[in-house]
Symmetry: D3
Subunit: 283 residues, 6 copies
Amino acid sequence: MFYHVKELQYHAKPERPDPIYAKKLQEVLGGQFGEISVALQYLFQGWSFRGDEKYRDLLMDTGTEELAHIEMLSTMIARLLDGAPVGDLEEAAKDPVLGAILGGMNPQHAIVSGLGAMPVDSVGNPWTASYINASGNLLADFRMNLTYESQGRLQAVRLYEMTNDRGVKDMLSFLIARDTMHQNMWKAAIAELEAQENIVVPSTFPRELEKQEVSYAFFNLSRGEESSQGRWASGPSMDRMGQFTYVAEPYPFAKKPKLNPPPPYTHNTMLPKTPRHQPPSMY
Amino acid sequence: MFYHVKELQYHAKPERPDPIYAKKLQEVLGGQFGEISVALQYLFQGWSFRGDEKYRDLLMDTGTEELAHIEMLSTMIARLLDGAPVGDLEEAAKDPVLGAILGGMNPQHAIVSGLGAMPVDSVGNPWTASYINASGNLLADFRMNLTYESQGRLQAVRLYEMTNDRGVKDMLSFLIARDTMHQNMWKAAIAELEAQENIVVPSTFPRELEKQEVSYAFFNLSRGEESSQGRWASGPSMDRMGQFTYVAEPYPFAKKPKLNPPPPYTHNTMLPKTPRHQPPSMY
Amino acid sequence: MFYHVKELQYHAKPERPDPIYAKKLQEVLGGQFGEISVALQYLFQGWSFRGDEKYRDLLMDTGTEELAHIEMLSTMIARLLDGAPVGDLEEAAKDPVLGAILGGMNPQHAIVSGLGAMPVDSVGNPWTASYINASGNLLADFRMNLTYESQGRLQAVRLYEMTNDRGVKDMLSFLIARDTMHQNMWKAAIAELEAQENIVVPSTFPRELEKQEVSYAFFNLSRGEESSQGRWASGPSMDRMGQFTYVAEPYPFAKKPKLNPPPPYTHNTMLPKTPRHQPPSMY
Amino acid sequence: MFYHVKELQYHAKPERPDPIYAKKLQEVLGGQFGEISVALQYLFQGWSFRGDEKYRDLLMDTGTEELAHIEMLSTMIARLLDGAPVGDLEEAAKDPVLGAILGGMNPQHAIVSGLGAMPVDSVGNPWTASYINASGNLLADFRMNLTYESQGRLQAVRLYEMTNDRGVKDMLSFLIARDTMHQNMWKAAIAELEAQENIVVPSTFPRELEKQEVSYAFFNLSRGEESSQGRWASGPSMDRMGQFTYVAEPYPFAKKPKLNPPPPYTHNTMLPKTPRHQPPSMY
Amino acid sequence: MFYHVKELQYHAKPERPDPIYAKKLQEVLGGQFGEISVALQYLFQGWSFRGDEKYRDLLMDTGTEELAHIEMLSTMIARLLDGAPVGDLEEAAKDPVLGAILGGMNPQHAIVSGLGAMPVDSVGNPWTASYINASGNLLADFRMNLTYESQGRLQAVRLYEMTNDRGVKDMLSFLIARDTMHQNMWKAAIAELEAQENIVVPSTFPRELEKQEVSYAFFNLSRGEESSQGRWASGPSMDRMGQFTYVAEPYPFAKKPKLNPPPPYTHNTMLPKTPRHQPPSMY
Amino acid sequence: MFYHVKELQYHAKPERPDPIYAKKLQEVLGGQFGEISVALQYLFQGWSFRGDEKYRDLLMDTGTEELAHIEMLSTMIARLLDGAPVGDLEEAAKDPVLGAILGGMNPQHAIVSGLGAMPVDSVGNPWTASYINASGNLLADFRMNLTYESQGRLQAVRLYEMTNDRGVKDMLSFLIARDTMHQNMWKAAIAELEAQENIVVPSTFPRELEKQEVSYAFFNLSRGEESSQGRWASGPSMDRMGQFTYVAEPYPFAKKPKLNPPPPYTHNTMLPKTPRHQPPSMY
């Protein structure tokens, strides 16, 4: 169960309105790696986790913080949209700055949300739950979380470069710092799990059931052998259970497949001579 | 540029048809972490990469292999659908096995694809490019790739548990082994990059520009302190640039926000007394 | 069954082309609350309604009118796109007006639709049937319809503010008037139903089966008690079946949940000691 | 900013697992009118609201409660999935109950989420932000909120009818009661706003600017005059600003439209004689 | 502008309810090639067409008919859902037929639509406007229309095979016949256009501007030369403007690409030595 | 199984960067009719085809070529994005060209992909597998393929008109030529199939089972008889199995439908008198 306090976790006040930057900032609110994604991903992972209380608490602590980041970004975006001009663009274009604003802002900020933040990305795609996952396997999920904090911090840094508004930069400096912590945190949690299990997810599948002759082989399928120079091409494997090998000329293990002809009731093409109508299989 | 040979990379022949398993197997073909996702993710990362040829080659080698996995799964699914019954379910339900098959298979395999594989997941959601990403930052992207191989192997292992068809299990044992390799491989590539940069993505953003007092602080926002027992709550940070601290009672840094009133031309609610129509800002 | 006449329900002729306004106007054609939404929502509600002929006719009358609005907007948008310039934007940018047009119009109007309207919103998201609903419960559905006419009229009014083209304003004045009627109409239909049933949907669920101690309680979950000043915080409930109460300090009714451990065949994380491979449950 | 306590707002414990019911219950978690929708809709409306603190607090109080409902449903669904069987369906079909379970459950609950709840509806569509809206106009938005509580309670009642598990029914009796409150609450808030403004949204658009001759006219566009018997067909309009009229034989106000021919650079069809290639307009 | 009559274009009455068949029949209502797709595709093509009245009328005639097909299918699906059982599946599974029905029907038909048709396909994906197109080029669009009638009739025929309900078969025999007409019709319209233009769309692009040495060359990129046996591999091209050639061993025309390094402000990976922070380009 | 060579099939080098054109060019990469669509459509059709090796090879040859086109476009787009400016738009707007670039480019090219191509269209919608199909019926599918090559070439031609960069035009002249070939090729393959079967898909459904009195009738449902002037309105049908007829005043074949009342457990509206709660059907 949740409680809300009206104070923001951190300041979210720009020096001046900037409707076009508002459109861009939507990326880290409602984009693939935005705050809605991390909030709901961590919370769903926490609610579904069937194990050690410590990890569940970690997920709930962090998911709850991300809700505060959604709030900060929503507030900032509303303020960046303050008094955004509307009106005839052709007219406005006579003033280059006004024209650029009218032409470049997200029209839904004016027409749909009435100058409020929206759960969409920087081109207006609505946020979708297909961005996120909770698998029940913590190592798989913590890797996903580390990924989201990595991509998210990268985007926040790029957005930091795109403005000289000190208020916006101040807020981003906070979010970037939290992403630093969260990358460190998931990295630490991953280290704990890898120490207990192994690096290969899931660690509980018996290795003898997999086709072990290809478990550490690198297949050179794009002509040119530059890829042979990496750590993945030779030496002990990272899970310490095998040796990397480099297969310079990989070949197929199987033959050309030949599918059975379709049953008549599918009315697929059946060449050269197509049988005419036959009753479906079950009558 | 690509060339195709008709041989499959590995065998894809079930012992017998099983249309319901065909539906489930779609997950690792057209689902979030399926083969379409990894193929296109690696290829797009390769095509966009603006740097070291070794990493580009690595991405193209692996993306090209994943195309072969799409092909294997498509072939397997077509064969699992061989001669799938169609017809009246109520009638069929008198035979429990036939009823279960008709009720449980994906109806689009009969109506839409004519007993062929589809680019959809196990509940029929079409594959979407919003699953994938190529950011230009290799460390961020390789973490995403490691995630996809982790979640993908987990799903392949779960599917392995759900059948006793030796042909299916044989194919999955190959794919699971390749996921073992690919987890090892991305892990190795990540190790190389982390050794050169740092663990925090992106490594090129000056740390003094971020709000460093919260860069290593854990905020306990879900009541109960189980999360204090993890590696992330104390000791040196994973990037060796700070000390983890545990903030048992985190508080807001900012005040309650107050947004400016809306301009009249948005026709937002303006209480208590709502001004009537005013001309928009620019006339 | 439908018949079409080629005359438009109302004029749809702008004074002059305006490709950027065409992009914006797409919102009320193919957006969440646009004409495609109301047309298909009312028609599906009508086709599925299992009751009083009067309401079915109401739905079919209105759904059929909305098809004419799709037509008017499609015609207007095609005319706003008349002779829209294409070409090199960098070149065009030397003429600020031309640059603003090229930079601000929806590129798909040039590349995809050949200067025709599209079933998309003002940022280009395709219309989706997930916008609409027909539940079979008229009171629930008429409330949804009233909502759509409210949001739709709001957007039409905002678009009215954004142009000074008298032809566009004339067409919008017609659509806004129809939204006035339709809000009045759904309001009237809702009043009829509420008089017969009650205001709580569905009215047919026995109240003694719900947890009645919380049926009229307001929970103050965001710190600060400004919300206690509303009509919803005290006095008789709107359905006249209870008294509103204000719970200033709401607490949980249940304990902390503890989920059962996962079965081995899911390969979820099972800490501290993870059992190794076990056969799935049913063999 | 948010705080979380681990206690659930209300009990979420079924008498026994039921993986198929788990699939169905997803509708009120991740469906169009599910708890994710209301939580995020109310929170976004609150964060963007530029006015009276009372309404903002109302939105934040209620949005925060809905987060607790997401949590309850996620917990319930995980428990309904407890120890769900996996395995060969054809084999299982010999036991009709087991066959029905395997055939009827959402396969992603086994393959993707490892027996956890997912942010999807009862057929597996991922939740999308295109379900929700925050327009800045409170009356429009509160009508949307009333709609969501109406449709949501209807679905919860239908789900109540579909089980005889006393634990599930107990939790639903709580959620249904909260929906009773929330319908009453939005109804009360709407009454307040309508008393101050008018029933037509937005109330701030000058009526003389709309095409008033059609502001209260009902158009009988589906043959048959059953719709003339409703409150909307005669008498004073609900906004008390006009008289409803019934137009039994509505006719078009405008002529057949004729679009201008396409410019050559679109390569649209131009019949009867198609001009050959011409340079685009701007060179 | 449209008018509606309440009579159906053709009978839509099943012999008996069949909720599982209702789910399947959704494919030709709300699927990719269903009636919503053809109705809106033809209408949008008509509304946007900037030319010969004859073709515009053809499109409006046919789009208007397809609206009647949506209506017939919606009616049929509602009747197939008549009195569909709801309740505990585990209980029901004791009666195999009842169990099959409960397990196999679309749960949203019970929970969401109250036994009405929905704008979704046979697995529950909502209809999306990304299925359709209107390009302004009639030959391109008529080919799309012929495709939709071809895929649509195929699906209707497959559904015909899946039932022995004479009422359903009767309705499908009508829809299949209309698809016969519509395939003939688009074929005829295409023949008219191809006679005036050429078979290559668009016919107005000067051939000398395309890379003509590859305009009729077949590239054998999948090893094995079975494809050389087709009409496309030799002889005069279908547009009578060239000769087909078969390139047995196609090679690249260009060199290996090398992308420029990324600018520092993108924080992409820049190996081997990564420059540290630099100001973005424009300050 | 696939092999990759690093050489491009054709040159993909612009004369100069142009980030706005990069956004537009995305249409033919990740749009509805872009290269991802044709590549995956042909490959899925090939993998699922259950018949004549010649057609399977044709599909694999061509699908493999389309992968090379994805690669060319990705390379071109990355180069068009070379060194794209980022920064404050308001500042930039003082230089009209810079302002136009910043306002008009896809912000995700800067924030998300780090100046790389993305699998999205020209307004940023992610590519979705709902664009494509493989039905198992070759004639239906080849018509779909011809459609995609027609719409694709039309878009490529329109893009050719929108630039004067000789490098871009050179690449497009290659892609347009390949589309010329592919239209000719599918046309040739269709001719082969139509010669063997008939023009109506599927050809295997017995004509006596369809409602033959409407198999060749044109229904004039949009008032005005311009459509009577087409080839489709009189004369022998294209399949040579009937005569086209023009029905100037089409009427319904069926009566007004009346649906049965809803069962109580759906809690649909049941007027005039609504029964109260009744147990669901199966207990």
